[in-house]
């Protein structure tokens, strides 16, 4: 670090890095990519990154709340698929109005999340196992419901789905606006609403939270329901973009969301993490994907690079702390 000598001696780098290290990694990544490819730093491409990150972003907020309570939700991808196919079926085959179909879709996600939350809190099953069971169950249910076939041709009927997936407000695609609202809602809830602070309290020390009278089980139920509902919302956007609901949609999405949340500084030990960090985590994952495509990196290298970058980002994070 050359600049160190010129700065006043009392400037302390450690808290600075702790606070802005993640943001600097993001900026460095952007800088490197804009040097490597002149297509990176165009408004079209940047909007593209944001649009592609919006689905992972929406899921990641739910995942973050779950991880804040020392839990994990492996079922988000399967729940996305199940709620999406049910919503699309209501729209196409049951002739339901769009808003109602969207409502059903969100309800399915919330219900799946409620089952997860119930199993984790009242039945006391480890979150990994409860949501692994839900992951398998919901995937099977999505395939069973559609007989393994995608539901297509929502164009004429599903204006609402298509609208959320493809419309633009001014220059900004709708998925970005939805994701932005979700992040805003998450930030308000986690930072300014007492119930949101409870989530941190629960994650910091469950026993203490219980003894000080926090509704521990209801908080857990809430975070898993939020994760399920947000997965369903992400599902609606995905269906809108693809104009079809696939029973295999969302496979491995849980891993992308977990990676984004953890890269964003949320701790598996619970109680520690910020919405801003998660946003940066989502963007880092999105920009890596985008950069690998821009640089024409073979698909075979993409898994390797993604894995390595996630590990490196975290190692750096640890080293700084």
């Amino acid at each position: 670090m050359i600049g160190t000598q010129t700065l006043p001696r009392q400037f302390n780098w450690r808290p600075f890095f702790q606070k802005y290290g993640l943001l600097m990694s993001l900026l460095l990544l952007c800088l490197a990519l804009s040097v490597a490819s002149d297509r990176f730093l165009t408004s079209d491409n940047l909007l593209n990154v944001l649009r592609q990150s919006s689905i992972n972003g929406i899921i990641s907020i739910g995942m973050m709340m779950v991880i804040l309570t020392r839990g994990i939700d492996l079922s988000v991808g399967s729940v996305l698929a199940l709620s999406a196919v049910i919503g699309a079926d209501m729209l196409k085959n049951e002739g339901m109005p769009v808003l109602q179909a969207i409502g059903i879709c969100l309800l399915v996600g919330a219900a799946a999340g409620a089952v997860n939350g119930f199993l984790v809190s009242w039945v006391n099953i480890p979150p990994f196992i409860a949501t692994l069971g839900m992951m398998t169950f919901a995937r099977g249910a999505a395939k069973f419901y559609t007989d393994g076939q995608p539901i297509t041709g929502l164009d004429s009927l599903g204006q609402g789905f298509r609208y959320l997936g493809t419309a633009e407000v001014g220059p900004i695609p709708m998925p970005i606006i939805v994701a932005g609202l979700v992040f805003l809602g998450g930030a308000v809830l986690l930072n300014h609403v007492p119930f949101g602070r409870f989530i941190f309290g629960l994650g910091n020390n469950e026993e203490a939270a219980y003894l000080s009278g926090l509704p521990v089980n209801r908080i857990k139920l809430f975070v898993y329901m939020a994760a399920g509902t947000l997965s369903a919302l992400a599902g609606i956007i995905l269906v809108g973009r693809l104009n079809s609901a696939q029973p295999t949609a969302g496979e491995m999405y849980e891993f992308d969301a977990i990676a984004a949340v953890v890269v964003g500084g949320t701790s598996f030990d619970g109680g520690e993490g910020t919405v801003m960090g998660t946003l940066i985590g989502v963007l880092i994952i999105g920009i890596i994907n985008n950069g690998l495509n821009l640089l024409d990196v073979s698909a075979f290298y993409q898994d390797i690079t993604k894995g390595a970058v996630i590990a490196l980002a975290l190692l750096l994070h640890r080293a700084i702390r």
Binding site: V123, I125, L132, F255, I258, A299, D303, G307
Partner: protein, 328 residues
């Protein structure tokens, strides 16, 4: 867990008996399937179950070890695919003799496992994230090495390990992969119940800081368990490639989840320090028997998935509550 309990055979047997909930579940399931389908309880079908699940059992053993030290290994499925591909490639492309290829592949698996361990121990990464990254890296390396296409033509000396049977006195014909799996299970059992290293594994999983203060080489124990898990994953991948007559770059996807489910069904705690090999094997068999029985009863694959999800949650719940009753 105190040293005396882990080291005595009687208590190990007691541990098996304490797992009666899941064992009874397995037996009840077996009885149900044999009453519904006369094909279930035939020698041929039972051999089939064992043969088809040998690689899952092997990976489950490695997973159990990492879970016992309080970790997890999500990379096993990808490492299995890489192991199958590299062993096949060494034989087919490089013309190495099978023994050399197998040893090199096992060493590679061990090395990958050690890397996982180093990320956890020295990099202080959560095991979930360290091995998740490795899952991506190993899958990518597999695709790169195979160029996305299966490698075949490993020859009879390799593929016989997937299907051939060995005539064992009294028992009858036993498939070679099952013999390999049995050997792994037996070695793991000895390792955990009869060696200092096994004792250390339980100690580290029980309480890391206390173990460190008591002089347990915590880092080395963790490194080695991840190494063994990687090596066993590579072994499982070779058996799988042998059974399929080719190393498929996409094989082993989701294997880590099967192995984790097996371990947990078998009573291995996700928080470390609790669990044993017989339990994990019973958990693996439960998943195998369930799949096989549903196939015999012609349950459609989509419903099978739904039932598997429910059984996992129900079995773990029942197991937890029986243990809680016992404690009273």
């Amino acid at each position: 867990m105190t040293p005396s309990t882990t080291l005595s055979w009687q208590v190990t047997l007691g541990n098996v008996l304490r797992r009666t909930a899941v064992l009874l579940f397995l037996i009840a399931l077996g009885l149900y399937f044999s009453s519904e389908s006369e094909q279930f309880l035939t020698e041929r079908n039972l051999t089939n179950i064992a043969q088809q699940n040998a690689h899952v059992i092997i990976v489950t053993i490695g997973m159990t070890l990492t879970m016992l030290v309080g970790g997890i290994d999500l990379s096993v499925g990808s490492v299995a695919a890489l192991g199958g591909a590299v062993s096949a490639g060494l034989i087919v492309r490089e013309g190495l003799p099978i023994e050399a290829a197998v040893i090199l592949t096992l060493a590679m698996g061990f090395g990958i496992g050690l890397t996982n361990g180093a990320l956890v121990v020295f990099g202080k990464l959560p095991p979930f994230v360290a091995t998740l990254s490795m899952m991506g890296v190993a899958r990518g390396l597999t695709l790169l090495y195979t160029n996305g296409k299966p490698i075949s033509g490993m020859g009879e000396a390799y593929t016989r390990w997937g299907r051939d049977r060995l005539s064992v006195p009294v028992v009858g014909d036993v498939p070679l992969p099952v013999i390999v799996a049995l050997a792994v299970v037996l070695l793991a059992l000895l390792l955990l119940t009869r060696t200092r290293f096994g004792l250390h594994i339980y100690a580290v999983g029980g309480h890391q800081e206390t173990s460190r203060l008591a002089g347990v080489p915590v880092s080395r124990v963790q490194l080695l368990t991840y190494g063994i898990s990687g090596m066993l994953a590579a072994l499982a991948g070779m058996l799988l490639a042998a059974r399929l007559y080719s190393a498929q770059p996409q094989m082993g996807v989701g294997l880590e989840l099967d192995a984790i489910a097996s371990s947990v069904l078998g009573g291995v705690s996700l928080f470390g320090g609790v669990g044993n090999v017989p339990g994990a094997v019973i958990g693996g068999l439960l998943i195998g028997v369930l799949g096989n029985g549903m196939n015999l009863l012609r349950v459609a694959s989509y419903q099978q998935q739904m039932i598997q999800g429910i059984v996992l949650v129900v079995a773990v719940t029942v197991d937890m509550y029986t243990k809680r009753l016992e404690r009273r």
